[in-house]
Symmetry: C2
DNA sequence: CGTTGTGAACAGGTTCACAGCA
DNA sequence: TGCTGTGAACCTGTTCACAACG
């Protein structure tokens, strides 16, 4: 649970707000002005009760018997998410993935501004992407301070991640989105969201194995790749 | 909860198995042969009770008073995750992100084999990445069938995602890792894991807003500037 | 002894079902 | 009438604390 102002919002709710916001923006684009919890929930991939309960943590935005005004609700969620103020973003680690993330075009529309690209590899330093030049990580502290960076996307190799993260935190950054597959040890007040592509694939592999185990069992009784039983 | 063989494993547990596996591989690399639940938990970023409970769903792997043998445990988890058999992988949508994902080098080591790159853009078709040539999505069904693809990474623009996903499912693929920021409407037996970079940033923004609201409130009631430590 | 494996207590999140209201 | 907002019931997952045991 996360406190904001005098309200408390469950972490699970916060993690769904971006879905609602996206669905609302799609509706706006399509010229829809009013929607209902069930219609919006379907677009967001959740249940309608879930959606209403989530919104109830932020306030009361709908009209009973009618539904929600798309534009109003979108801006309310947007405000709750803190997208009113601009967040200045740096990408540290500009390999394949960091480069792809730099070229992502959706930052500005969502209140983020990419202001620095940083890497340790001399071959990468000096390259340009997204209108920025990649700068050397020796100057990391200087750059983060000068550009007023408040959020960092960390896309370094795993071996470098912990050390770099510590330097970043030392600069006062408290929100990090990490793509490095390591559990970062950082002070409690630092928020780290972690995206791990290989891990996601492994989770899918587990589901595949479960499916095959079941089919194997029901179809012909032979063992499919399964858990080492107890 | 997910059934595999005669065992039932909570989804939350499955989502942590990759962390444990990674930590174990790091230990192996460092030549460590034995570890304890608390040491392994620390490396994985979870509590030790959590780790032991998670492992208990898969079986009993440790020695009381001693701990776990790193290699044995790693291979047990690996088997549970279905990484024994090879999973044939296609990337659909080879833009910035798809390209970066194609160049990721860790697939083979984790039991995945990238066997096709597919895109709808004629400018992209024909390019090479990771030893493969990008092929046109007109031939998607043909390619997935011929290569025995069982898992797909979907990295198309949002507008195309739903339609492409339906074609993929039609080919018998039941595990999809999507990077497109839309809630895919697919049959219940299809497992979709979704990674949304913009969404993750928005969640971080919420945390930043919460932090500022608190500081602003306690400091002087006005909105506080940047997060200079607490 | 020291560490695992696990029942039992707890916490958090989801779903239900309906009262409240335009 | 129909949809929102929400207390209460339910369910899932986490943490505690200790018995089991090499």
């Amino acid at each position: 649970m996360i406190e904001i102002g005098e309200v408390t919002v469950p972490a699970a709710t916060v993690s769904r707000l971006p879905y609602y916001l996206r669905a609302l923006r799609d509706l706006l684009r399509d010229g829809v002005t009013t929607t209902s919890s069930s219609a919006l929930a379907e677009r967001s991939g959740v249940g309608s009760a879930q959606l209403r309960k989530d919104l109830s943590y932020l306030g009361s935005f709908g009209t009973r018997g009618v539904g929600y005004e798309v534009e109003t609700l979108a801006s309310s969620i947007s405000t709750a998410l803190g997208l009113g103020s601009e967040h200045r973003l740096a990408i540290v680690g500009v390999g394949n993935l960091g480069n792809a993330l730099a070229n992502y075009s959706g930052y500005a529309a969502r209140g983020f501004r990419l202001v620095a690209l940083i890497d340790a590899d001399p071959d990468v330093v000096g390259r340009r992407a997204a209108g920025l030049e990649v700068e050397h990580s020796d100057r990391l502290e200087e750059i983060l301070a000068a550009r007023g960076v408040s959020m960092v996307i960390l896309a370094t190799p795993g071996a470098a991640a912990q050390a770099v993260a510590e330097r970043i935190v030392e600069c006062g950054v408290r929100e990090i989105l990490s793509f490095s597959p390591v559990a970062l040890q950082l002070p409690d007040d630092v928020v780290v969201r972690s995206v791990d592509v290989a891990g996601e694939l492994q989770i899918l592999a587990f589901h595949a194995a479960a499916r095959h185990a079941q089919e194997g069992a029901t179809v012909d009784g032979r063992t499919a790749p399964a858990a080492t039983a107890r």
